[in-house]
């Protein structure tokens, strides 16, 4: 991997950034060089190797901070810009939850990141969502979103990941990282609509660290990407903290989604719920890994997982791999999973009303996701996700 490391170093050398940031990038690059290539069961890690993907100019970052939020003292800006305006804050938070040592892709991301930092001061409740748009152009793209909520702050972050090659175009590589620090009593709703082109190989790591009584709600719409390895972890550190992870995935064609959601309970009386719903069509493959990791001291905690998969065709395959690691006696934990096929009687019933097969399937898919989306009180987001599902059906799944 000398060649990719050398390429990374020469990429960093070309950047016009403060010395401390360049040093942080070089350190991450050095860490990457010391780590072994990952090896995963069920997903071919070699598809996500950076070698062969051009580095530099891989995509764009666009951050939209509502005017009212700016007036409340919220800041949201690209990391490059913020590194000059407020270097101390970037230095304090960048790479804190997802450091270079977390893995090869995390290290590469920290060495070559584009990204943004959103900071909400203590007690500030932001009404409108802060929007982040990452647009992939090609080669390698390494977006990183850092969210910092001080004590009692509340915000919704809506992140859209789009662009990049179609399934038949020359492929691109994305590593996408989210780091979210929630102070005591802070509430974060993090929504990501992932619709990278199906020619993109995607590695995503999202991590939230929760203070006392803090709440995080994830809504992840995983629609795009060719090979996707995505992992979302809520670290319930503070007593009484709570995480809800809603994961909607929809794969068709030759897509391969390997999705993990983890609840790590450290604090007492912490609650976690993972709800995943996925639809597979074509010859798509999905692996879903739901994990409840309950550490000693997380007394009175509750960790629950529910997963449903719907197979629209016969060529698909899904594996659900639930895991419970429990090092505490006083707790509740549970897991339920179902896999269903399209019911021919249901299809006939819908056809008999005049709905062609594709329109019947469209209703069935929307209906399948409905109970999950009902938990998201943002009508505009529900409609946007529904539109992504429709567009995918229109392209042919």
């Amino acid at each position: 991997m000398v060649s990719t490391t050398a390429e990374l170093e020469s990429y960093i050398a070309r950047l016009d950034e403060p010395d401390w940031l360049l040093t942080s990038r070089r350190t991450a690059a050095a860490v990457e060089a010391t780590l072994d290539a990952p090896h995963w069961d069920r997903t071919d890690a070699s598809r996500l190797e950076p070698a062969g993907f051009a580095l530099g100019g891989g995509g764009t970052v666009d951050v939209r901070l509502p005017e009212a939020a700016r007036a409340q003292g919220v800041s949201a800006a690209g990391l490059a810009e913020l590194s000059r305006l407020d270097p101390g804050r970037v230095e304090r938070h960048l790479g804190r939850l997802v450091p270079a040592g977390a893995g090869r892709h995390e290290a590469r991301n920290l060495a070559a990141h584009h990204g943004c930092l959103i900071h909400v001061p203590a007690g500030v409740v932001v009404a409108e969502p802060v929007e982040v748009v990452y647009r992939l152009e090609g080669g390698q793209f390494h977006p990183r979103t850092v969210v910092v909520l001080e004590r009692g702050a509340e915000v919704t972050v809506l992140q859209r990941c789009a662009g990049g090659p179609d399934a038949d175009a020359p492929p691109a590589l994305v590593t996408a990282v989210v780091e979210a620090e929630l102070g005591d009593g802070a509430h974060l709703r993090f929504i990501e609509l992932q619709q990278w082109g199906e020619g993109a190989a995607v590695y995503a790591t999202r991590q939230a660290m929760l203070g006392r009584d803090a709440h995080v709600q994830w809504l992840l719409g995983e629609i795009g990407g060719g090979t996707v390895r995505s992992s979302t972890t809520s670290v319930l550190e503070g007593a009484g903290s709570e995480a809800l992870a809603l994961l909607a995935f929809f794969a068709g064609g030759r897509q391969h989604l390997d999705l993990a959601a983890t609840l790590r309970h450290h604090g007492p009386h912490t609650n976690g719920l993972l709800l995943a719903k996925g639809v597979l069509a074509g010859t798509a493959r999905a692996v879903y890994r739901g994990t409840s990791d309950i550490r000693r001291g997380a007394k009175g905690s509750d960790s629950q997982q529910k997963e449903n998969t719907l197979h629209l065709g016969h060529g698909v395959r899904s594996d659900v791999i639930p895991a419970l690691y429990i090092d505490e006696n006083d707790l509740q934990a549970g897991h339920a999973a179902t896999t269903g096929k399209l019911d021919p009687e249901q299809l006939f019933y819908m056809q008999s009303r005049g709905l062609p097969v594709r329109e019947a399937e469209r209703l069935i898919v929307h209906g399948f996701f409905a109970p999950l989306l009902e938990r998201v009180p943002l009508e505009a987001v529900r409609q946007e996700l529904a539109a992504l599902v429709d567009a995918k059906i229109d392209r042919g799944i």
């Binding site: 249901q346 019933y349 062609p356 019947a360 069935i364 209906g367």
Partner: protein
């Protein structure tokens, strides 16, 4: 539907899983006519309903079915529906996560008869009221958690909204109490008119007290063996089906 069209079933033969069920059934339902088709269990009534609607599990081995003069045998179930045929199911399935309103709206759209939201809502609420139902049903998921009576009411609600030319009611009365039968029948009666032909398939005579048929047919072993009027219903109510079976068995070439 301004103009009515006829459904012509012409010497229809059909089988399911290799077993012949319909053996040359002939029946014509003209515009505006209400026909009752009665028969004992196993006579092939539901096979007829499903075959007409185009269920892929039923295959036609002979004869023809024409809607407005055009054969429907090469049409898929959704094409038949868009051509004006409606089947009220004996056992309607659930459609999880899809509301009654959205389901009907989508079906109208597929038929190229999408209504503006305000108009759609007004009409839907009218039809719900016609079926003596709570308007909250519009927001419930199709048939999920519905009682047997509610499922049948939902079938008639869809029929009222979709305005087919020909409606087949497959044992819509089965499992219903008298009050529900009355409500469902009132709904059907309110839709009667020159644009709608109806085939009421039933095992019991009860629903025919509320939906008055113009013609009555009795089916045994995959064929219609008696056709007439009200008097056939009365005879079946009094004597059951045995007399028909015996009469068919005694007739030359009958009882096969």
């Amino acid at each position: 539907m301004a103009e009515g069209i006829a459904l012509e079933i012409d010497r229809l033969e059909a089988e399911v899983e290799g077993q012949q069920i319909l053996r040359g059934l002939t029946l014509r339902i003209g515009p505006g006519e209400v026909h009752a088709l009665m028969g004992p269990n196993g006579s092939g009534k539901s096979t007829l309903a499903n075959t007409l609607a185009g269920h892929p599990r039923y295959s036609v081995t002979g004869g023809d079915v024409r809607l407005g003069g055009k054969s429907v045998l090469e049409m898929s179930a959704d094409e038949r529906a868009r051509a004006g045929l409606f089947l009220a199911f004996q056992y309607p399935t659930e459609v999880p996560g899809v509301t009654v309103a959205n389901f009907i709206h989508s079906a109208l759209k597929a038929r190229g008869r999408e209504l503006p939201f305000v108009q759609f809502r007004k009409k839907l609420l009218e039809k719900i009221a016609l079926l003596e139902w709570d308007e909250g049903v519009a927001r419930r998921y199709v048939n999920e958690g519905f009682s047997g009576g509610e499922r049948k009411r939902n079938e008639i609600l869809q029929m009222a909204m979709l305005e087919p030319n020909i409606a087949i009611l497959d044992e819509t009365d089965s499992g219903l109490d008298v009050d529900s039968i009355k409500i469902v029948s009132n709904g059907v009666n309110s839709l009667r008119g020159p644009g709608l032909g109806v085939l009421v398939i039933t095992h019991y005579e009860r629903i025919l007290r509320y939906i008055q048929p113009d013609f009555v047919h009795v089916m045994v072993s995959g064929r219609i063996v008696r056709s007439g009027g009200r008097e056939l219903v009365d005879r079946i109510e009094r004597d059951g089906y045995d007399w028909v079976r015996e009469a068919v068995a005694a007739a030359p070439g009958g009882g096969q």
